[in-house]
Symmetry: C2
Subunit: 217 residues, 2 copies
DNA sequence: ACCTGAACACCGTTCAAGT
DNA sequence: ACCTGAACACCGTTCAAGT
């Protein structure tokens, strides 16, 4: 009757739970219950909760498309990979937050990493710069996804931040008051595209390798 | 004998606990115990755990220096504020992760926000761009602090990510293999300074406002 | 009004005892 | 060897009962 226990079945059940109930809802006890067993039984296949979370994260990252339309320029392909990563994290609640506590180091994370390094190489970015650049880009993807998830899952229609910012008077904080519309504008995708442009422009402009001086000494 | 309960005493005790035991160690029960009372008593002063976490975060952000040496260029002052923010988050374990789950919207967060907006205005950045730019910079500060905290608090001397990356073979992922030294180089402060340069260069180069076309139509 | 002990509904993890 | 029920040491939150 009952499907046999396995690491794979456990991770699948956990991811399913995460999607439906969020990060707090993905407990060992609930995963076990979903598989018709007790929490203790999971320890035969998984070291502990942290390890399960890392497995769940990497399984979800399988959904990141690292081979978008083959013929376009490196810039478009880079943007497409990062956008795909971003959307995978935003799509199901809790995953972005999970990515912030469990450093992704599984096979799918490595696949994404390798792809990004290849694209930066194609862009002419030197090795040391590319190494730090992928870290920065992935940090933004994860952080931006967390921010967008929090905003979306907030039961408040407006959100605490928006309320606080709306309550700021011009005499207290004139610039916050003046920018209050722009600060809370919820258009997550437009922000993402703009941030991508910023990061790329900055990275291309800030190589770590010492450049040969332009003028003679 | 026992000091009277108050919101302020609760937040202070909680921050103290956070610094000594990390995010998991800061429970309502332990905060109550530190104040010689029961957890239920805290609910007279604080809505729930989330609210307490937000208060603790903002209290810690009081340590962010928004008025560094008055006479230097906007760029140096901007870097100093962000560096101060970064170090406050990194200094005590758990705070950076807390900043990722509780959107900071208290008075100290607003003070930092206003300062950053003023500095970008001084830099000649237009309003809409500045609004998104502060968000991006704060996202990096928080994300970078989380990453550095995780690395530091990892009991592993090397860390899981470093192990995984070290184990990657040249034939699997040639670029990760080639960049393995740079990818895991733990020099957090150098990375921070580089990332700051990248962000500033990118922001100055990517205004949201439509620019007047350079050439005639 | 303010405070609190006990209870409720959960957790992750361990371990002796089963098959 | 594999599995598991019960136990252990925790959680956040509620609420009736105290002063």
């Amino acid at each position: 009757m009952k499907p046999p226990l396995s690491r794979d079945a456990i991770v699948r059940a956990a991811l399913d739970l995460l999607q439906r109930e969020g990060l707090e809802g993905m407990s060992l006890r609930k995963v076990a219950a979903a598989l018709d067993t007790g929490a203790a039984s999971l320890y035969a296949y998984v070291d502990d909760l942290r390890a399960l979370q890392a497995l769940v994260l990497d399984r979800a990252l399988a959904g990141v498309d690292t081979a978008p339309r083959g013929r376009s320029a490196w810039r478009d392909r880079l943007a497409a990979v990062l956008r795909s990563h971003f959307h995978v994290l935003v799509k199901n609640p809790g995953l972005a937050q999970l990515a912030m506590k469990a450093i992704p180091a599984g096979p799918n994370a490595l696949r994404v990493l390798e792809t990004l390094l290849a694209l930066l190489e194609e862009a002419g970015v030197d090795g040391p710069t590319a190494a730090w650049a992928v870290d920065l880009m992935l940090l933004y993807v994860t952080g931006g996804a967390v921010e967008q998830s929090l905003r979306r899952d907030d039961p408040d229609p407006l959100g605490l931040l928006a309320q606080q910012i709306g309550a700021v008077t011009a005499s207290e904080h004139p610039r916050i008051h003046a920018a209050r519309g722009e600060l809370v504008s919820g258009d997550g995708d437009a922000r993402f595209e703009w941030a991508l442009e910023v990061l790329l422009a900055g990275i291309l402009d800030t190589p770590r390798a010492v450049r040969r001086p332009t003028r003679a000494p």
